[in-house]
Structures are given as structure tokens and as C-alpha cells.
């Protein structure tokens, strides 16, 4: 077996994991499967494209590549702005749609359907603005460096892997060590009781959206940097995201990341052994297996 599979799997897996953290948080705290989460990935990637483009137009110096990487300072700066903008987009969608449905006391399934409608709207809006033609952050070609053991990776890939690792640790610490993290876990256990003991549920909900959408934006920017940017990129990642969130156990951040890596590795394996066109089936196979044998996931609790 080609050891490169492991590396490829880790890259895809880290992006899936970052997205799956958002899915698992919305699922456990807002209590619905958000089919629009994939769109935050695409919107994050396009926000960064627009921001980096604007910065590059302001000052050409921001476009000169930093060190071994393929991009200039315009992209990291644009990425920070894009993360904030995607968080804002999530808050906007919540204010327009999900928040109102919560006030109406709509059922879970109405929320899921609304998220389905929101997903199509957001995706088609991107297609309307940017057309469906793939775009790239940079045209620069990168040479993959040998890492030993027959494994190669480009500096961009290593960077995105590092960023993902730092983010997962940060989110984990946020949830386990801070006041807002404790509030989030309390709301996930029992929203009514959390409200009674004085936890501001609305603040928790805002944090969930900002966190989930921000991580999705980073995943989208990584995917855009390493592969390409398309309006469909979020939709293509949606099934892997759900598979990872369920495999990891709903509500578990480390579980979502680990499961994201597992799904990514399974996809890379499928690409090597069966063929690239069957990549998406790997996530479905994992989903079916989890639902059959361990529906509560790796780190979840049985209901």
C-alpha cells in the first residue's frame, strides 16, 4: 500500500474534522442536523477569495509569497476577515430563519427542512455571484517535499494540517476550561434547566454559530488552497461531515476531529483501491456501518 494515502487522508480528514465540529455543536446544542453547514465552508472560501483579492489590489506587496508557501500575506489576512464574515453570515441566517423557527417552537424536522432550503439558497447565491467556474487563491505551483518513508507534502498542506491541529486543541480547551464552554455544555445537556440557573442561552447559541461557521470557513479556505474553490465544494463535503459527526459521537469535539480523520483516510483509501470517482461512497459506507453497529458513535452516549 502506498504510504502517501495516509498523508492525503490526513489533509482531507483535517478539513472534514473542522467542518464536523460545527455540525456536532449545532446538533448537540441547537438540536438539529444543519444541512446548510456545508455552505459555510464554501462561503468562507469565497469570502477569503474576495478579501485577499481586495487586499492584493490595494498593495501588490501583500501578494509576494511568504517563505515556502504559495501565497502572500493577503491570504492569511483575508482568511481572518473571511472567518469573521462567515460567522456573521451564520448569525444572519439564524436571525432570519432558525431563530424565528425556534420562537415558533417548530419541530426538529422543520428546522432540518429549513436548513435544507437555506443550503440551496446560499449555494445558488454563490453560483449567481461567482458562477460555477472553479477558481484558485494562487496560480503558483508548489513542489511537494519528501518527508521520509515515501511520503510527500507541500508546505501549504503541512500548514493547513498544523492550523487544524491548533484549532482543535483551542476549541477543546474553550469547551472544557472556560465559562462559556461550561455554559455550552450545560445547554447541550438541558436547555430549559440551563436557562433556569441563569445561563444566557442566546449568548450560547451565538457562540455556537460563530464557532461552527468560523471553523467551517477555515476548512473551506484550506480546501480552496489545496484543491480549488467551487460553489459545490460545501455540498460535496456535507455527507463526510455528517458521517464524521455521527461517527465521533454527537457533541464530542475530539470525536468529530478523530472521526473526520478516519473518514478522510477511508476516502483516500477508496481513491487508491477502487477509484477516485467512488470517493463520496466511502463516507456513506462509514455512515451505514456506524448506524448499524454503534449509532451513538465513538465517544457518544447511548440514548
Amino acid at each position: 500500500m502506498n504510504p502517501q494515502i495516509v498523508m492525503d487522508g490526513l489533509f482531507t480528514g483535517s478539513m472534514i474534522g473542522l467542518g464536523a465540529i460545527g455540525v456536532t455543536l449545532t446538533y448537540s446544542i441547537l438540536r438539529f442536523a444543519n444541512f446548510a453547514h456545508g455552505e459555510f465552508i464554501s462561503w468562507g472560501a469565497y469570502f477569503a477569495l474576495a478579501m485577499a483579492g481586495a487586499l492584493g489590489a490595494l498593495s501588490g506587496a501583500l501578494l509576494t509569497p511568504i517563505g515556502p508557501f504559495s501565497f502572500g500575506w493577503a491570504l492569511p489576512l483575508g482568511a481572518v476577515a473571511a472567518t469573521a464574515l462567515t460567522g456573521g453570515l451564520a448569525l444572519l441566517v439564524d436571525w432570519l430563519l432558525f431563530g424565528r423557527l425556534r420562537v415558533n417552537r417548530s419541530t426538529v424536522i422543520i428546522m432540518v427542512m429549513a436548513s435544507f432550503g437555506a443550503a440551496l439558497t446560499l449555494r445558488s447565491l454563490l453560483e449567481f455571484i461567482f458562477t460555477s467556474k472553479p477558481v484558485y487563491y494562487t496560480k503558483a505551483l508548489q513542489i511537494a517535499l519528501p518527508l521520509g518513508g515515501g511520503i510527500r507534502a507541500t508546505p501549504d498542506q503541512l500548514l493547513s494540517l498544523g492550523v487544524a491541529a491548533v484549532l482543535v486543541v483551542a476549541v477543546h480547551l474553550l469547551l472544557t476550561r472556560t465559562a462559556i464552554g461550561r455554559s455550552m455544555r450545560a445547554v447541550s445537556e438541558n436547555p430549559a434547566l440551563a436557562g433556569v440557573v441563569g445561563i444566557e442561552v442566546r449568548k450560547v447559541i451565538r457562540t455556537v454559530w460563530l464557532l461552527g461557521a468560523g471553523l467551517a470557513a477555515i476548512a473551506g479556505i484550506s480546501a480552496g488552497l489545496i484543491v480549488q474553490i467551487r460553489p459545490q465544494m460545501g455540498l460535496d463535503l456535507l455527507l463526510p461531515l455528517f458521517a464524521a459527526a455521527i461517527l465521533g459521537g454527537i457533541g464530542s469535539v475530539p470525536g468529530a476531529m478523530l472521526a473526520g480523520l478516519i473518514v478522510g483516510l477511508a476516502e483516500a483509501l477508496a481513491v487508491q483501491t477502487i477509484g477516485a470517482e467512488w470517493r463520496a461512497a466511502a463516507a456513506f459506507a462509514i455512515l451505514v456501518l456506524v448506524l448499524l453497529f454503534r449509532p451513538q458513535g465513538l465517544f457518544g452516549r447511548a440514548e
Binding site: I109, G117, F284, V288, P295
Partner: protein
């Protein structure tokens, strides 16, 4: 009225009726039972492909072409889609409600993938052509041909409607709604909720398969891009607009939304230059998406809303005693929101 206009109207309505069948299937799953299927397109595709394989003439470059009668193809398509629904339902119905949604989404993605890549069976991206059309002997006369096809679809939809209405008023239909409204109460009465849900899910999936088969034979050609998530979305919009839980609403919604869809597509191709049409089509989807979300927010019951359904015997009683005719839909929506 000119002949072309009548022929076009018949074509339009036939197409709308194939969507109406999908809506009726979705209504069994969602409207009556509260099961959320995000993979409608996948089940429709299974019906279409199975029927096409069974009925097309033998093809050299792919598996099959069994040249069976069209009716066999339709039945086969419905059974295959029903069987896949049963498998997915058996896997997920006992779990959380939205696991079913995620799993059906997975089915749609996987079916799409299979249709695209199993070239030796499905024809790959080029799809399957030469699917026999009903009444093809009359194809020389466009008016007669389109009217005959329309008549056939009217018969199918009417038969399905009557059968579903009958089922709805049967003890079986009442158990389904009882489970949807209050599962614990239904179980306390000894009803096996999982079993009933699974039956409803498989029946609904089978009806979607039938719709796919009917549509494939009406158009005569199928390809993977006919079964994108967009189709699922359209069928949902139809059911929500018409009023879920109401079979007449499902049919009305299908005709209405398909009408809006066809008219706006026509307007786009007339108003925009060819280079801008892809963009305008994206905007069309944006508007439909916003409309669906708005309906969910403002009028979740749809145009017709859910019909009050009681047993035939009770129906006679309540007609005699007007005070018994409470507005159940209010009550129902309250219970569903709780």
C-alpha cells in the same frame, strides 16, 4: 384553441402529474408519518433506472435491456425503490429522527454516484435512451399521443389518490397519525411504532420509484443529472406549498410549483442572453429557496393544510353533530409543535 397549445398543455400537465406522484409518495412519509426524506431524488432515480433497464431493447454496450412490457418496468421500478427504502428505514428509523434525513441524503448521493460511474449498467453520464414510451404507436399524431399520455397519468394519479385516501382512513392510517402525534400514547395502546413507520417509509419510497419510472417513460431518456438534490428540493417545495398531510394538496402543489418553475425558466431563457442564463438560473433557485423558507415561517400548513381524517363511521357521526367538528388542524399543529 390551436392544436399546439393543447398538445403543450397536455405535455405540461403530464410532467406536473409525474411530480404529483412523487409528492404523494413524500406525503405518505412526511405528511402522514413525519419521516423526513432528504433523498427523494435517489429513490426516484432508482425507479427510473430499474424501469429503463427492464424495458429498453437489448443494448450491446451495457447490461440488459430486457424488452419487457412497460407495466412490468413500472412495477419493477416501484418495487426496487420500495425495497431500498425498506433497507434504509430498517437501518435508521429506530434511531433519532434526523439520522433518517442524513441517511436518505447519503442514499441520494450514492445513487447519483452509481448512476454516473456504473457505466456498464446505467450508461454512465450519457444515461439511457430509447426508453419505450406508452402509446408510441400513435406518435405520428402529436395531439392524440400527448393526450393519451396525459390520460394515462391522470388514471395513475387518480388510482393512487383513491388508494391512499382509502389507506389513510383505514385503521392503518390512523395508527400512523397517532404515532406521529404522540408516539408514547400509540405504544401504550400496543402499536409497534417502528414497524408502522417502516411500512409507511417503504410504501412512500415505492411510490417515488413509480414516479421516476413514469417520468422516464414519458420523456424517453434518463441521465444522472436529472436526479440532483434540486429534484428533492422541488418535490419538497411542492408538498409544503400544497399542504403536507393532504393528498389533494400534494397534487395541487405539484401542478402549481411546476407551473411557476416552468414559467420562470421560460422567462429566463427569453429575457437573458445565453451567456447570463446560468447565472439567472441560479437566481431562480435562490428565489424558490427563499420562498420555501418563507412558507415554513409564515404558513407551515401550506395552501390546503392538513385535512381532518377520521374513520368512515365517525365521519358520519361528526357530520350529524356539528359541534364535534372541531378544527383539528389547529390542534394538530399545536401538538406537532409541542
Amino acid at each position: 384553441m390551436s392544436v399546439e397549445l393543447v398538445a403543450y398543455a397536455a405535455f405540461f400537465l403530464t410532467m406536473a402529474l409525474t411530480y404529483a406522484i412523487m409528492c404523494l409518495g413524500l406525503n405518505v412519509q412526511w405528511g402522514q408519518t413525519g419521516l423526513f426524506n432528504v433523498g427523494v431524488a435517489g429513490f426516484v432515480a432508482i425507479g427510473a433506472y430499474v424501469s429503463a433497464l427492464l424495458t429498453t431493447p437489448d443494448a450491446a454496450d451495457r447490461f440488459g435491456g430486457f424488452e419487457m412490457p412497460i407495466a412490468v418496468g413500472w412495477l419493477g421500478g416501484a418495487l426496487a425503490a420500495g425495497f431500498v427504502s425498506f433497507l434504509i428505514g430498517a437501518l435508521t428509523i429506530r434511531l433519532r429522527a434526523d439520522y433518517l434525513a442524513i441517511a436518505t441524503f447519503g442514499v441520494a448521493v450514492t445513487v447519483q454516484l452509481a448512476a454516473l460511474n456504473l457505466q456498464s449498467i446505467t450508461g454512465g453520464p450519457f444515461g439511457i435512451g430509447f426508453i419505450p414510451r406508452p402509446f408510441s404507436g400513435w406518435a405520428g399524431d402529436p395531439l392524440l399521443f400527448s393526450l393519451a399520455n396525459f390520460g394515462l397519468l391522470v388514471l395513475v394519479v387518480a388510482a393512487l389518490y383513491l388508494a391512499l385516501e382509502r389507506l389513510l382512513r383505514s385503521p392503518w392510517g390512523r395508527v400512523l397519525r397517532a404515532i406521529r402525534e404522540d408516539e408514547q400514547a400509540a405504544r401504550a395502546l400496543g402499536k409497534n411504532a417502528t414497524k408502522f413507520r417502516l411500512q409507511a417509509f417503504a410504501i412512500g419510497g415505492g411510490i417515488m420509484g413509480l414516479a421516476g419510472a413514469a417520468q422516464a417513460h414519458f420523456i424517453g431518456f434518463i441521465a444522472p443529472e436529472n436526479y440532483l438534490p434540486m429534484l428533492t428540493f422541488q418535490v419538497w417545495a411542492m408538498l409544503i406549498v400544497g399542504g403536507s398531510g393532504n393528498n389533494r394538496g400534494a397534487i395541487l402543489g405539484a401542478v402549481l410549483v411546476w407551473g411557476i418553475w416552468a414559467a420562470s425558466a421560460g422567462a429566463i431563457s427569453a429575457l437573458f442572453p445565453p451567456t447570463e442564463q446560468a447565472r439567472a438560473a441560479a437566481l431562480q433557485i435562490v428565489m424558490i429557496g427563499v420562498a420555501l423558507c418563507a412558507i415554513l415561517l409564515l404558513r407551515p400548513r401550506g395552501i390546503l393544510g392538513e385535512e381532518r381524517v377520521v374513520s368512515r363511521h365517525l365521519g358520519g357521526l361528526s357530520a350529524a353533530k356539528p359541534q364535534a367538528k372541531r378544527e383539528i388542524s389547529e390542534e394538530t399543529s399545536g401538538a406537532r409543535n409541542a
